[in-house]
Amino acid sequence: MLSLYVPGHSPVHRLPAGVKLLVLAAGSAALFVVPGVAVHAGELLAILVLFHVAGLPWREVLDQLRPALILLVPIFLFHVFATDWVLGLETVLRILVLLFLAVIVTLTTRLSDMIEVLEKAMRPLRLAGINPSKVGMMLSMVIRLIPLMMREAGEILEAQRARGLDRNAIALLVPLLIKALKMADDLSDAMDARGYDPGAVTPFWRGKGTP
């Protein structure tokens, strides 16, 4: 499955997805409100303890963080030369706390659980005429379509390589797009033919009874 989730039974894993997402949202906002090198260092330590509790493989964690970590070096160096190193340390620590917090939520929560939380959280949007079940359907559709699109792209690459056109971006893109659009037509026809109807949701400003 295409997901970063690392299965486990730790207390961090068992925490409901909604709670974890709330903690992440509140925590990332608090980071900018409460500054200080000592505060951030303490937070970083606390999160590292959480990583240990969750029993996550460090290789996986570092793989996820590597691109951001590489960026932290020039940021720190810039602060050393342009402002002062304390501010640089604080900035780097803040980014680290933010990243670790985000990575622990991502690695310990199932994608399906997060989509479920999202569908629930979107219930109030019915008032604005947005149907949460349609959004959930689209999210699931993307997850199904991604491997399909990757396979199509691979097949077209092979076919154009046989013609010596594999360095030609247009010869790769156009067939992929046309094929995909044709598939979208077939897929939506098939859904309509099977009576897919999540029900219309009217925004509150249109009132009841009007389309």
Partner: protein, 180 residues
């Protein structure tokens, strides 16, 4: 929103994600590698129009935030969104919308050059206008510094705008989706 619109939105989110498999391309003059993925942003806007294109990228960004490794180099999760380059990823939503809105306006007299303009304004100007202040804020840099660090990507982005424009023009001729 019709079932067809739903499928098209999901489809372009998936196409943008599929571009993550293309490895970064190195070209001689530009020091930074080029990733193919933001072609998906321009294509979604240019082929689907403002509303559907913007929603496709919104869907893509939501899935990245939920932890699917859909960005080039198999990255994903809240960490990327909240990190220094998160502004660039988030900017893809308004970027696709702006490309789409401009293409809709020019639809009846669309040619390579005005389509290229749409892709450059939406796919490059909007992306940098949001991504660079974000980078500066998260990393504590000055705007000029953040801009200088990102400028190496601009030539590659222009090449991508040209490719996206050529492809979207062919698709418009054979499979027009805007205005019906």
């Amino acid at each position: 929103m019709s079932t067809r619109d739903m499928v098209l939105i999901a489809l372009f989110a998936a196409i943008t994600a599929a571009f993550a498999v293309f490895p970064p391309v190195q070209i001689p003059v530009v020091p930074a590698p080029i990733v193919v993925q933001n072609i998906g942003v321009m294509l979604a806007g240019a082929i689907l129009g403002a509303r559907r294109g913007g929603l496709a990228l919104l869907l893509f960004v939501v899935l990245v935030a939920l932890g699917m490794p859909l960005l080039t180099g198999w990255r994903g999760g809240f960490g990327v969104i909240l990190g220094p380059t998160g502004g660039f990823v988030l900017s893809w939503i308004p970027a696709a919308f702006v490309v789409g809105a401009m293409v809709e306006k020019l639809w009846s007299r669309l040619n390579f050059w005005n389509l290229l303009l749409c892709n450059v304004v939406g796919g490059i100007v909007v992306v940098y206008a949001l991504g660079i202040p974000w980078l500066a804020a998260v990393a504590g840099l000055e705007l000029g510094q953040a801009l200088a660090g990102s400028a190496v990507f601009i030539p590659g982005d222009v090449v991508k705008a040209v490719i996206a424009s050529l492809a979207a023009l062919v698709v418009k001729r054979s499979y027009p989706l805007i205005g019906r």
